[in-house]
């Protein structure tokens, strides 16, 4: 077997099918998107080449920058909430009562599709008989806000289900990483007299630093390209106050028949994501990874 695996032709043959599929399904469409971004095209009729006009228009499009701002808010919010997930995982991984049940509770949202979650939370936020407002009214708030209809509340209201939706995913990642830490290290620390907080902060967290770095990238990039829940719950409204980059792109390409412009947004989004991933990797780069 080793002999086969070191044969360059065989390696190439093995890699080739997957590579071809990957190129055809991922990289070619990306290049096509960039190409369409240079066109004036309604998606149906003739394409006209207009160079970088879509991109210059994009730079001046206040609506786009609004949506970009909303995406960045979401990115910051998701990153901050990672701290919460980490704390929950630390608690779950230390042997507490009911950890098993709690773990399942956190994981359940992961089993639901985004559209189902959106439908669920639409009911929760319903202005007159939703869960939130019914509760508020029983506590004596006469006129609770219509969460998804208020331009200055809608974004925050949408963040809640997004956080809820992804909690299970990140907790699972952290939990798995924490479970990998050998017990002997924790035991040794205990013998040296470290309290649980010190063990968590000085031993466990540094040991899973690599995983944390990955989750930060995932959270930020995931937020920048976030689409589904917002599209179903508000469609970017009222009047664009919950529009994010991806929903704006969709709206331009499919809503207003501006396929070229939509493509340029998509391509720009890709560039932003690449730059940010690269930046995070640079910023968090450490000389040596901790080993156990």
């Amino acid at each position: 077997m080793n002999k086969v695996m070191s044969n360059k032709t065989v390696i190439a043959l093995y890699v080739l099918p997957a590579l071809l599929v990957l190129i055809a399904l991922i990289y070619v469409p990306i290049l096509m998107t960039g190409y369409y971004g240079l066109m004036k095209w309604d998606g149906i009729g003739e394409m006209t080449f207009i160079g970088l006009e879509n991109y210059t228009k994009l730079m001046k499009d206040a609506m786009f920058w609004d949506s970009a701002y909303h995406s960045f808010l979401l990115a910051i919010f998701s990153t901050v909430s990672l701290i919460g997930y980490l704390i929950i995982s630390l608690i779950l991984a230390s042997k507490i009562k009911g950890a098993n049940l709690l773990r399942k509770i956190y994981l359940i949202p992961m089993l639901l599709s985004s559209v189902a979650i959106a439908q669920l939370w639409l009911k929760v936020y319903h202005p007159s008989n939703g869960l939130v407002n019914s509760l508020l009214m029983t506590f004596g708030v006469d006129n609770p806000p219509a969460w998804l209809a208020e331009p200055n509340l809608v974004l925050q209201a949408l963040f809640v289900p997004i956080i809820w939706q992804y909690a299970g995913f990140y907790i699972l990642i952290y939990y798995a990483a924490l479970k990998n830490i050998p017990d002997s290290l924790v035991e040794a620390a205990k013998i040296d007299g470290a309290n649980p907080l010190q063990i968590a902060w000085k031993i466990k967290v540094p040991l899973i630093a690599g995983v944390i770095k990955v989750t930060i990238v995932l959270a930020i990039v995931g937020s920048l390209k976030y689409f589904d829940l917002i599209y179903v719950m508000t469609g970017g409204g009222p009047n664009g106050s919950s529009e994010v980059m991806a929903s704006y792109m969709y709206q331009k390409a499919f809503g207003t028949y501006d396929f070229g412009y939509g493509s340029s947004i998509g391509f720009f989004l890709l560039i932003i994501c690449l730059v940010i991933t690269w930046l995070i990797r640079k910023l968090t780069a450490t000389k040596e990874e901790l080993q156990y």
């Binding site: 071809l20 309604d42 998804l148 508000t234 409204g237 664009g240 207003t256 028949y257």
Partner: protein
């Protein structure tokens, strides 16, 4: 060892070929079906009435198709059925890859225009005939050539709950002042006067359109859109002002900007809201739909949007327009058969859609010969007496401007912009497309 490698290699190649054949599979199966017997023609027909959500429509289509196949031996109609939003997207994708079905459904004006200009739809003037209600086929015309034959025609009255009106001693309002009194009485008594699902935005646009029509007359809004007039016309600004007045009076259901039309329908169907402005496609819910309690159906009536004192519009002017229409693909290989199918379909649809599906067809109906619920007859009579039907504003506009208009409608209802800003934004959006 080598054998193992070769087996693995073969397996991976098999997987790839499977994946690739999956990609091209749809083409080969669709394209060759008609050729299997030499004199068999297949017309591909894509429509948007799935059995689950539009049972009556679905049934009528099935019957018409069966009848057509029977009278035209050798011709087969192959159906592809999707729900509305999926339909719109698939149509676009198919158009972009030049694979439109031979016959399909399209919406009027702004929706149809890119397809007509992109040479995707065939001209249908040769099979148009005389039987259409005037104004309906015009909405499907670009440069005076008809690209679609309309199937339905709708007008939007205000439906109201007679029981709620009676409880509060209210009369059907004839003038806008009376209407505001109705709103005030209801709001003071803790009843939601009007339900409107403005997350969908066109719902709110209809309210604005009616006010614009009643204050400025039927041409003002249309002229502002086609650039012979302006959105800064005092009548249009006043109409925007009235929307905000109504919103300030708590006329509209709470959270309207976050509710979809379907969600907003709930309070009306549950006797919690007194009025609902919606197209005549809602009629079955108040007449024939067995899923709705008889008691509720009996308690619903409709009235025409009241006149505004000093305004130029008259009470018989409606907001409405044709719904979907049939198109034939320009590149269809069976164009003649497809056209034949379309004219057959339109004729049969006219005969059956009123009685079976509660649709008001775009072709003339002989109401004498069919047995219809009273509310239908009333609406059909209103339609016959209509002095004007203004096509939905967002349909009149190009897609880009329509989107801006709909966003502005949300802001206007939500009180985030003034009527003057509302007018100005429209002017800017329209100017940017000139």
């Amino acid at each position: 060892m080598k054998r193992k490698a070769i087996t693995l290699l073969l397996m991976s190649m098999l997987v790839v070929s499977l994946i690739l054949s999956g990609c091209s599979g749809s083409d080969s199966s669709n394209g060759n079906e008609g050729d299997s017997s030499s004199d068999q023609t297949t017309i591909k027909f894509m429509h948007l009435w799935p059995e689950g959500s539009a049972k009556q429509h679905h049934g009528i289509v099935q019957d018409i198709v069966a009848e057509f196949e029977e009278t035209n031996p050798g011709v087969k109609v192959q159906l592809d059925i999707l729900s509305v939003e999926q339909y719109k997207e698939k149509l676009k994708v198919l158009a972009a890859s030049n694979e439109l079905p031979d016959v399909g459904l399209t919406w009027a004006a702004g929706f149809l225009e890119p397809y007509a200009n992109g040479n995707m739809f065939a001209e249908l003037d040769d099979i148009k005939g005389e039987n259409f209600i005037s104004g309906t086929t015009e909405a499907f015309a670009v440069d005076e050539k008809t690209y679609g034959l309309p199937l339905e025609l709708n007008i939007a009255p205000i439906y109201y709950n007679k029981t709620i009106f009676a409880e509060h001693n209210l009369e059907v309002p004839q003038t806008y002042e009376e209407f505001k009194n109705v709103v005030k009485t209801l709001a003071d008594n803790g009843v939601t006067p009007i339900t409107v699902g403005n997350k969908d935005r066109w719902t709110g646009s209809m309210w604005y359109m009616y006010l614009a029509d009643r204050i400025g007359g039927p041409e003002t809004l249309t002229n502002a859109i086609n650039r012979t007039g302006t959105f800064e016309d005092p009548a249009l600004i006043q109409a925007a002002q009235e929307i905000q007045t109504l919103a300030d009076m708590n006329a509209f259901v709470k959270g309207f900007n976050g509710l979809s039309n379907d969600e907003a329908k709930g309070p009306f169907m549950n006797n919690q809201a007194a009025m609902y402005l919606m197209g005549s496609w809602e009629l079955p819910n108040y007449t024939t739909n067995e899923d709705v309690p008889q008691e509720f159906r009996d308690s619903i009536g409709f009235f025409k949007f009241p006149t505004v004192e000093g305004g130029k519009g008259d009470i018989n002017s409606f907001v409405g327009g044709p719904g979907v229409g049939l198109f034939v693909a320009e590149d269809s290989e069976v164009k003649e058969e497809a056209k034949k199918f379309v004219s057959f379909f339109v004729e049969k649809w006219g005969e059956r859609s009123v009685t079976d599906a509660g649709v008001i067809p775009a072709t003339k109906v002989d109401t004498e010969s069919v047995d219809l619920p009273q509310m239908y007859i009333d609406v059909l009579n209103e339609l016959a007496n209509a002095s004007n039907i203004t096509l939905y504003a967002d349909v009149q506009m190009s897609a880009g401007v329509a989107n801006e208009h709909l966003n502005m409608i949300q802001s206007l209802f939500g009180g985030q912009i003034t009527p003057e800003e509302f007018a100005k934004k429209h002017e800017e959006a329209l100017a940017s497309e000139e």
